[in-house]
């Protein structure tokens, strides 16, 4: 019965066999399934197995409930989800979303005691039902005889339980002995039991099941298996626009193999790889479809399959699109953009295969996603705001003591001294070496200090661009006036509201200057500095 699950999820054969044997015989009261890398797949496999087990008529009949601790974030939700799912009750809006009721009409969702009673009532109800079903099936007149019923409760992400409902953890692990039923509770987690385990041996030790991360071959097989389902889901009027059609399967196999070769080292999660594949595949097969369309000798009406691409075409496609696979991974794994947008932005031009080869590689293109958007937002800022951001970055990164050395303009124009760069990891006293502030994160600074740095920056880099005011006699007087303008302060507030600066002191504090932190990265600042022709690296205390 679980052979179906085994077929659908390659790489999980051992897990399927183990879980199925466990649950269909005499399962331990508490099972802990640990999967480090592909927890969602394991969750689905578990669901499939339980589904198969509960639909086959065996003795004991198995009923299961699978609840996620993310959605069941209160005790009551958890109780209701479990018992309602076990008895197959769905609360309906018309009935006032009433919960399942047993014969005695007791409330079972209030606390752990009543939940255990609810479980028992559910068990009685189910065994009566199962008994009835069996009786009608066998035709024996044994009405009312309780047949065996086994309850299986799967709790996903129990590590959340530790945070939100810590008082429930121990009772849940002991549920089978508390309820005194044939009940097995399964925790399904990405985190090891050692990290959840309550202190003082309060919980019994579980029976451990470890799911190894899927191997590359398993993922390849898995993704290829999914192709058939994708084909069914996307019927299209014209075969020339439909990337998911069975005649392209051989190319898809080739594509998935290449994709997994490139991407597998970075993530072992089949879901993520499927996502990247979904973003790239329409673009990958589009040139081929275009070619078929151009040839035009395939009769669409007859439903004739496309001939498989020649080796040469296949090699060419691979060569063209291989660099874009890593780009896709880079943009999609952190979800800088979504698959549909990425596919649209990186769609190859029409009739790629008819273009000369070198041009084709370029045309396939790699366009970044979200990073470009943030750059655009920064580029749209006024000039003064950009200077403020650079000054804020310097104030956040350099230690305050170094300001005079870095920005001071003495009469003798002493040479600026920067900190001597030392090899990291070695200090004289044997203490830990100091970590650059750039790596530790921005430090808060007083606004006065930032304004002073801004003044130095403007004097150095902005002086020439201003119209010369006749009324300023003393050197630096003009800059002084510029940094004292209300505009500067309003820019600071505006940048704070844009979250490019963070205010670290509460806004209602009156004593002392307000403190801020810079919230843009080194790379963004470097781009700004280049635009304004500021030599940023010379102004950093810890040079990169």
């Amino acid at each position: 019965m679980a052979s179906d699950a085994m077929r659908r999820y390659p790489g999980h054969e051992n897990f399927c066999y183990e879980l199925e044997t466990l649950l269909s015989n005499h399962p331990p009261g508490f099972i802990y399934i640990h999967d480090l890398e592909a927890i969602r797949t394991t969750t689905r496999v578990t669901g499939t197995i339980l589904d198969a087990l509960s639909t086959t008529s065996s003795s004991p009949a198995i009923f299961y409930a699978q609840v996620d601790c993310v959605t069941s974030f209160t005790a009551r939700l958890l109780y209701e989800n479990i018992v309602n799912t076990l008895v197959g009750w769905e609360p309906r809006w018309e009935d006032g979303c009433a919960n399942w009721k047993d014969d005695l009409d007791t409330r079972w969702n209030e606390n752990m005691d009543s939940f255990v009673h609810g479980l028992r009532a559910a068990h009685t109800h189910l065994s009566r039902k199962a008994g009835a079903v069996m009786d009608t099936g066998k035709g024996k007149g044994k009405a009312g005889v309780n047949s065996d019923v086994r309850l299986v409760i799967v709790i996903e992400r129990p590590e959340r339980l530790k945070e939100t409902l810590p008082e429930l953890l121990v009772p849940f692990t002991r549920l089978s002995e508390l309820s005194r039923l044939d009940l097995s509770i399964i925790f399904l987690s990405q985190v090891g039991w050692e990290d959840i385990k309550p202190p003082l041996g309060a919980s019994p030790d579980p029976y451990y099941v470890d799911v190894p991360p899927p191997s590359k071959e398993d993922i390849v097989r898995n993704l290829i298996l999914n192709f058939a389902a994708l084909c069914e889901d996307s019927p299209s009027s014209s075969p020339f626009n439909n990337p998911y059609q069975s005649s392209l399967k051989s190319l898809y196999i080739h594509f998935i193999t290449t994709l997994c070769d490139v991407c597998y080292p970075f993530t072992h999660n089949p879901q993520e790889l499927q996502y990247v594949a979904a973003a790239r595949w329409p673009g990958f097969c589009k040139p081929l479809l275009d070619q078929y369309k151009a040839c035009g000798d395939i009769d669409m009406e007859s439903g004739e399959a496309f001939p498989p691409p020649t080796n040469d075409v296949r090699m060419r496609l691979t060569k063209t699109f291989n660099p874009t696979l890593t780009a896709a991974l880079e943009a999609l794994l952190p979800r800088l953009t979504n698959a549909a947008d990425w596919a649209l932005a990186n769609a190859p031009p029409d009739d790629l295969l008819s273009l000369p080869r070198a041009q084709g590689v370029q045309a396939a293109g790699t366009q970044g996603g979200g990073a470009a958007q943030q750059g655009a937002a920064l580029a749209a800022l006024p000039r003064m705001a950009k200077f403020i951001l650079i000054a804020a970055f310097l104030a956040s990164t350099n230690p305050a003591k170094s300001d005079v050395r870095m920005f001071g303009r003495g009469l003798d124009e002493r040479k600026r001294k920067r900190r001597a760069t030392r090899a990291p990891g070695k200090t004289r006293g044997g203490g830990p070496s100091k970590v650059a502030q750039r790596l530790l994160g921005p430090a808060p600074f007083a606004i006065d200090r930032m304004i002073a740095i801004l003044g130095a920056l403007l004097e150095e880099n902005d002086f020439d661009s201003r119209a010369s005011g006749k009324q300023f006699k003393i050197p630096g007087e003009h800059t002084d006036m510029e940094i004292g303008r209300v505009g500067v302060f309003s820019y600071v507030m505006e940048l704070t509201s844009m979250r490019l600066l963070h205010r670290t002191t509460p806004s209602d504090r009156l004593d002392g200057p307000p403190q801020f932190k810079c919230a843009i990265s080194y790379d963004a600042t470097l781009a700004l500095a280049k635009e304004l022709k500021v030599a940023l690296n010379d102004l950093l205390w810890d040079p990169l």
């Binding site: 015989n25 080292p265 990291p424 790596l439 921005p442 919230a519």
Partner: protein, 513 residues
């Protein structure tokens, strides 16, 4: 050594047969059994139902291993405990005594199962059994409500005809409005209701226990936790009731049985509670020596009665054939020296038989019709998984960026920084890539100039609780600057990297020393 064991186990098997009903047929098989007889490697098809039934029976007995414990000897710790407990419960149920005792023993020594087994024996007298657990009933109020509920279930519903239900419900609702201090809660005992008594009446519930028409047994699981409740009022009331129980015609007897693994539980009791407690402590113990343990293993692996077999022609011969094969294979398995070593190690680490039971469960799950017998490879692999789990057993297959981050965090640790930010690790990594520029990092023959997607690997490690947050994340601190520390210590990191088998990563890690 195996020869000695053989003898030992044979003699103990005789004892086992007294209680655990070993079929005489199998005894006969075992007599003419020759352990060195050749056993076919794979299972013949016609024996498949036998194989499944046998596996099912073994798994069943593995779920409650301590049931075979008393079989070891009558004068063992648990044998004495059973005798004492049976006497005590008999005293209450048959002679209407008030008794209290504490069942004390380490985890997995069979306390709860022993109590259950003893209660089974007096099931004919139909005592009211109230089960409370310190893990669930955190406060005395919860405990009282639970007592009320269980009383209702055990005394109420079965006696009451349907027509009276509504009426009584109304009556109890009306009573709720009356003054609770004047109202006696006796209706609980005499006329059961369908709703719980109002909470103001709960405190009067415990003295009522004496007036019931059947003897009462109260089982307090995790007794030590009840002693932590404020003023220990529940314990006081229960034990006071026990003391007040006098043998007379109308009283039926009450027993309070505490179950705990905490040794100093009696010292936790307040003076007034302790003086009401009888002080009887019944001790249980896990298997005392390796031989007992091995005997239990053998008893479990050779199940006496297999259920779930269809009846048909040639049943007897099949059973005989299968029993022969299975017994021979188990004997061979247990006689092997490395297998005994595994059990010896396990027994030295923990006396908890549940660990052994878990290992055996995993082994039994692993056997398939194609490889139907237990083997040393199975048992050693299962021991790694089920006994004391090392992190290295399940962490060696991390993705490449995650491994890089682990090494980087080991490096920051060596540099003296216990906590680190993502940027620090990334910087360490970048320096390494720069240093390796002449020999670029190779994964599966593909060149990885710069690592990508490290942020995701970092988050993956966080969600796997390998990196723990040092300070609570705040909206002021960008994600890449939140401080973390690594849970895995350096030797483990080394083991993980060694297993992953990437030369460049190994080299990078060795730079650490």
């Amino acid at each position: 050594m195996p020869a000695v064991l053989e003898e030992e186990s044979d003699s103990s098997d005789e004892e086992v047969s007294e209680l655990a009903i070993v079929s005489p047929k199998k005894q006969a098989f075992r007599a003419d059994l020759n352990p060195s007889s050749n056993i076919p490697e794979s299972l013949p098809d016609h024996l498949l139902p036998r194989f499944n039934a046998c596996r099912r029976a073994i798994l069943k007995s593995l779920q409650c291993p301590s049931l075979v414990l008393p079989a070891a000897a009558e004068d063992s710790v648990n044998g004495i405990a059973v005798k004492q407990l049976v006497e005590l419960i008999d005293g209450t149920v048959l002679r209407a005594e008030g008794n209290s005792c504490l069942v004390l023993g380490p985890r997995g020594s069979g306390k709860s199962q022993m109590v259950d087994a003893c209660l089974e024996k007096v099931a004919a007298q139909n005592p009211i059994i109230l089960r409370l657990s310190g893990w669930v009933q955190n406060t005395d109020r919860h405990a009282l409500r639970e007592i009320a509920f269980q009383l209702l279930q055990q005394t109420g519903t079965s006696l009451l005809p349907d027509s009276e239900k509504v009426q009584l419900d109304d009556a109890s609702e009306a009573e709720e409005d009356e003054n609770p201090f004047l109202d006696s809660p006796d209706h609980l005992a005499e006329g059961p209701t369908l709703s719980l008594p109002p909470s103001s009446h709960l405190h009067a519930l415990i003295p009522v226990l004496l007036t019931l028409s059947r003897p009462v047994v109260v089982i307090l699981d995790a007794f030590d936790l009840f002693a932590l409740h404020p003023r220990q009022s529940l314990l006081y009331c229960l034990l006071d009731t026990v003391q007040n129980c006098r043998a007379s015609s109308e009283s039926r007897g009450i027993a309070v049985i505490g179950i705990t693994s905490r040794v100093d539980t009696v010292q936790l009791l307040e003076k007034r509670v302790k003086s009401r407690f009888s002080g009887r402590t019944i001790r249980t113990a896990p298997p005392a020596d390796l031989e007992t343990c091995l005997t239990m293993v053998r008893t479990i692996l050779l199940p006496s009665n297999m259920d779930g077999c269809g009846e048909g022609e040639g049943e007897e011969e099949e059973e005989e054939e299968w029993n022969n094969l299975w017994t021979a294979s188990v004997e061979r398995f247990l006689a092997a020296k490395d297998v005994t070593n595994v059990f010896n190690e396990t027994f030295t680490i923990t006396r908890d038989f549940k660990v052994v039971a878990r290992i055996l469960t995993a082994c039994i799950i692993r056997i398939k019709p194609s490889q139907p017998y237990l083997s040393f490879q199975d048992v050693s692999a299962c021991t790694d998984l089920q006994r004391s789990r090392l992190r290295t057993t399940y962490l060696n297959k991390l993705s490449y960026p995650a491994l890089c981050l682990l090494i980087a965090s080991a490096h920051t640790d060596t540099a003296g920084h216990k906590s680190f930010t993502f940027e620090m690790l990334y910087d360490t990594f970048r320096n390494q890539v720069r240093a390796l520029a002449s020999a670029p990092v190779q994964v599966n023959g593909g060149n990885i100039g710069m690592m990508r997607c490290t942020r995701e690997a970092f988050e993956e490690l966080i969600s796997a609780n390998i990196y723990m947050c040092v300070a609570a994340p705040s909206s002021n601190i960008a994600k890449q600057f939140t401080k973390y520390r690594c849970v895995i210590d350096q030797p483990d990191v080394k083991a993980i990297i060694d297993k992953a088998g990437n030369t460049n990563l190994k080299k990078w890690l060795t730079k650490n020393q």
